[in-house]
Structures are given as structure tokens and as C-alpha cells.
Symmetry: C2
Subunit: 412 residues, 2 copies
Amino acid sequence: MVANVLEINPERLWESLERSAEIGRFRDVGLRRLALSAEDKEMRDLFVEWAKTAGCKVEVDRLGNIFARRDGSDPTLPPVAIGSHLDTQICGGRYDGILGVLCGLEVVRTLNDRGLQTKRGIEIICWTNEEGARFSPPMMGSMAFARQLPLESVLATTDDDGVTVAQALDEIGYAGAAPIGRTFDCYLELHIEQAPVLDREGCDVGIVVGGYKTRALRLTIKGDTGHAGGTPMAMRRNALVGAGYVIAAVNDIGLTYAADEGRTTTTRIESFPNLPGTYAEQVKLTIDYRHIDPARFEAMSKAVEAAIAESAKKANVEIDVATGWSWGTELFAPECIELLKATAKELGLPYREMRSQAGHDAYAVATMAPTAMIFTPCHEGISHNVNEAIELTRSVPGANLLLNAAVARANR
Amino acid sequence: MVANVLEINPERLWESLERSAEIGRFRDVGLRRLALSAEDKEMRDLFVEWAKTAGCKVEVDRLGNIFARRDGSDPTLPPVAIGSHLDTQICGGRYDGILGVLCGLEVVRTLNDRGLQTKRGIEIICWTNEEGARFSPPMMGSMAFARQLPLESVLATTDDDGVTVAQALDEIGYAGAAPIGRTFDCYLELHIEQAPVLDREGCDVGIVVGGYKTRALRLTIKGDTGHAGGTPMAMRRNALVGAGYVIAAVNDIGLTYAADEGRTTTTRIESFPNLPGTYAEQVKLTIDYRHIDPARFEAMSKAVEAAIAESAKKANVEIDVATGWSWGTELFAPECIELLKATAKELGLPYREMRSQAGHDAYAVATMAPTAMIFTPCHEGISHNVNEAIELTRSVPGANLLLNAAVARANR
């Protein structure tokens, strides 16, 4: 490490991570800390306590997004924002999201240790419901903040029990008064990679220049009920059979594109009436596909569309297709990417440029402020799984990059 | 019609059917009268009222099976039993089950009209939960009655809300005191065909000599959760992909065997965690296949087993297979089949011999008493669908066959 650069406190970061991993513990080593649940409230309360102890002013907006600000010397300047999320998947890991928030906190704590004041403030953000596990779509808090989703429709979104986001926010006391929309000098987000590239290459720092082109489709497959025994095969309109053909074909497409890192996924399925003696009249199915190369992505799109049409024909059903979410490849600001690269070089940190395969809050924030991301390695790329694992020594370089880049920008 | 034979009252039968179709009305023309629901209770109460008005003694056993008996002249002789069921599927029709019960009632009413006493009694039976829509497996009441399922495990079976059969019976007041197990001289069941053979052939009477060989498999597909974006295709163990390959392959097998009336069906699917950003670690899937020819059935079995193994391999998951239910082809008693054939000839009724593609309570009862079934046509074979339809004129011949065969046997 070069003499005049700052370093975070690795033990303190790890201790905070370990403490956070006690909240929503699931299957011994993992977490179930769904957005706006009692566990999420407990984690939010702990974060707010930590932020206040570190001297931050804390505000919460109508969506429950939390903003913890360490003031700069010039209060008229927009702050440097650093954010991620506290919620997890239903069978989630200990590092997805929270690592980025706690590295933001570590930036503030390190500045406090050194008694350093920056020109611009530093604002740590916890975005509401990044995962989309309880309320869909994912990244709801940052998207509504960035006016990519209407506030009212987000507040009216229900979970599987019919509870709205607005009700859940009220219940945990995180329906705040801060205005939606704030100005940032820039936005930086550190996140575990959730794919195995860094881990396999032995590289500890990914500078994320954009995303994989990604689209999710929500299919409604429409057939008709009938007797599982007596109905001749040719008369059947089993919506579940339509779904089965789609799932199989979409996975085959993913395997075809796997060599250049294409991905297809079928995730959520809901079938009605879903009973043993009657076949299904309606199935809802979510599919998702991603590719780093826009041209290959378009080819995948055509293959997926053709597979849906072919499946509908084979199963004698109708399939309605709606877009669930989609984003492109060119997301992040050259100035922020350059800042990260220059800072990494200054720190003597090896890095690789890369594109994110996962969605992140940074995608929405990038539409309103210059944005970039830092990835740190996770073991074998395992994520959205209780066995998600990181090594502290391989996480610290990314945290130091975040710290020094944020401070450089905040003193600009 | 020959002079010395009996005839039911078609208008009265139709009026009773219409009245029964008011209970649990669903989507205008169909029924949702799930086993042991409030609607089932209302239908049971009405049946009991009708049976008592017709002079029957009514008993209910611990399983809620209802026995309505018109005494014969010799009370030491076992009665002729005529039964079917009052419950429906969740999107069910107006005739599945209830037609057989009301034709049994029509036998009693017709004997009353004529002031005729039979030597043996006539016992009309309503079996609990034939459909298996709320509680699985189907035909639970008759199977436990015939000691094919243990009473205690049936009573402990839960619906999707965790309510047990025992609780549901208590709630509607149909946990009766009559002993499980009674002796019948024979058992006759009339049912709509639920397949299009009679309707297409223009034949009004099917004499059912047995069933299609049938097996249901309950699959548990085991993978692991992972990130829908970042996880490389080769690392994925998406249980829903395993299910998709099984569904597609099993349907393809059904299409291959469709020419000689083979059937494959995939019905119920449950996926966990079933969220958009994470793929599935476990899927439960029910599949069902049937064939009239035992040798062809065995070939289908092998094809299904191979498809399951191949799907597990392609999806990189494990698949556990358990048998849900199964029955064979040789179910019914030659003496009862002969009785029905001889009676049909006597009545001058054209009939065809056939095998049932659907499961029926008669299959369980056949293990304890000589049994046969009569099928009547349903429009295009549409069943387990609100649009299930019959014509009265095409149903009356079967009802008259039931009446005359039952009386012949009861006077034996």
C-alpha cells in the first residue's frame, strides 16, 4: 500500500458483518431477512444505530430507503453516495448487499478514525427491497427513487399474503418523511460478484463498467381444465404442459449460449387449479435471460420467442408474454469508471474490468447520477444460497478502493 | 321397453340433478363442492333429507361415508349397494358423481312408486372425497372403507390449509358412528364416462368390465438455490428445470401412445422457493399415466422411468420417485358384468363393453364385494371442467339398466 492512501479497518468490518449475520439466521450459515420483515427492521435499526454512533445524520424516505450522511465542509455541494441493501433472499447468504453497506460505513468510520473532513459529504444508502423476494420487482426502492417506477404503484405492491409495501413500511416504522429524490455528486456501490469470475481468476477487484443485457418475461399460459384420465391426448389443453415445454426449451437455449456466458433461468411458477386429478387451466411462469453481447442477446431473444410459440403449439395452449424487467449493457459513467481505475492503480491493486451478470440498485441510480460499481470475489460464485462465502483478505482491496475513490471524489 | 321391466322417472331425476347443481355453483354452469366443505355439507344434508323422505334409514361411518338403506323383506341378507360421490373438483361439473347417487335414489323412489318390496335391501352410498381435490389421495372414503388405506392415516390427512379430514368431518357433523366395513351382496355404480367414447359412438350405455392400468408418481426433484443471473449454466441445479424436462418428456410419451388411447398427465407442481431472482432447490411434481393394455402400460412405465432419469441428468438434479396410486385392469366381477349384460339385453338396450379411464370408488369396493359399473355418455368427454354436460335422454337408459339389474339382484 502506498504511504498517503487510506486503509479501512478489516477486523472492524468483519466484526460488523458477523454481527449483521446474526439477524435473520437461516439454516445455520445463511440468512432469511426478507424486505420489510421483522428481521429487516432489526437490521435497519442496528444500521441506524451504527451510523448515528459514527456521527451520521439519518433520514428515511417514503419508500424506507435510509440515507446516513456524514457532512462535508461545504454543505452546498451534493454528497458522494455509497449504497447497497440490507434485505436478503429467502435462502440467502451473509454478504449479498450488506457487504456494500458496511463498506460504506467503514468509509465513514475510517474518516472518523483519522479525523478527516471531506469537502463533500459522504452518504451511505440502504435501498429498500433490492432482492424482490417478498415484493416484486427487485430493486424497487432504488427504481422508485430514480423515478423508474411510480411511487404509488410500488407502495401498493403486495406480497403473497396480500400485505402492501405501504403497510409493511408502516408496520416496521420505516415509512419516512424525507423527500423522494436527492442529488448526488456520484454513486458508488461495492457488491460481491455473485458469479465465479474473480474467484476463479484469483483477482480481488472487479471494476464494473456495465451489466449483462437482461430481460425477464412473465408468461401467462392459458389452457383449460380436464380429467387427468379420460381426456384424449389430442383434446388436452394442459397449461402445465405448455410451461414444461417452455422450461425445457429455454434451458436448452441457455446451454447453447453457455460457452460465451449466456444465461437462461426459469424461476417462479404458479399453476391453477394445481390438483392431482385435473390438469391445469392456467400457469404463470417467470423466465429470465442474459448475455454480455447485445447481438447475441438479440439472437437469444429470438430463440426464446420461437420456443414460446413452439411450446404453445405443441401443448395446444395460448401464451401471453409480458416483460417483467429489462436493462442494457451501457450503464455506468466513464468518469466514475476512470476514477476507480486510476485509484486502483494508485493503490497498486490488480483489477479486471467486468460486466455485472446480476441486477443492482446502481442500475437505477445510474440514471440520475454518475455511477460505477466495485465487485469483490465470492467463493465459486455461489450466491442466493445459504453457502455464499467470502474471504476477508480478498474483500479488503475492494473496500480500500471504495474508500480512496470516494474520498478523492468527495474532495473534488 | 319390454312390458314387465321397471322404468325410472326421468323428470324427477332431472329435477333432483338441477336442485343439486345449485349447491356450490361455480362460474355460472359448474360446481366447486370440495369434500367436507360447507357446500358438501349442504349437499349431504339434502341427500339425507331426500333419502329419509324416500323411507330410507341413514347411517354415517367415521369417514363420513353415508349409507341410506331401503330394507328388504329378509333383513338377514346383505343388501345390494349402489353408490358414488357428492363432492366435485375445484372447477368441476354438475354430473360427475352426483348422477350415480341420484340414480341410486331413483331406484328407491321407483320401487316406492310401485309399492314393490325386494328380498334384499337396497343401500345407496355416498363415498367421502372421491375427487381428491381437497384431500389427497382421491377415493379416500371408499379405500379406507375397503381397508386399502389405514383409517387413522386417512383421518390425519391435511388439506393445503393444514385442516385434517377428522377436523373437517367434525366441523360439518359427518363423523358418524356406523362401523367401518359392511357386507354387500354386490355393488353397482353408475357414472358419466368422463371420456368421449360413448358420446362419439352414439351409444348410451357402457358396461364397464374394468379399468385402464393406471399409476401416479409423486416426484421430489432436488437441486440447490442459486442466483438467476450470475451462476454459470454448468453449475446450476435448478429443480424447476428438472421438472420442465420431465413434464415435456412425459407429455411426449403420452402423444406417442395416444393412437391406442394411452394417457400421460402432469398435474400438481410445487416449487420452492419460487421467487424470481433465485432458482428452485426443490420441486414436487405429480405425474399420472394410463393404458388399457397391460403390456403397453409396462412399456410406457419404462419410457417414463427413462425420461425421469434423463431429465435428472440434463438438469443436474436428483429425482426421488414415490408411487401415488395405482390400479390394474381386471377389477370387476364376471357375475355382475353378466348381470348387466343380461339385463341390458332384456331391456333391449344397445351397450358396449368398455374399460374406465378414470378412477372410481367401485375399484376399492370391488375388493370386498362383487362389483360392476355402468357408464353414461357425457358431451365430448369433457369432465373436471365446468362445461361438463349430459343429455337426459342419453342418461335414462343407463339409469333403467341400474334399476332393473339392482332389483333382479335384490330379489335373488
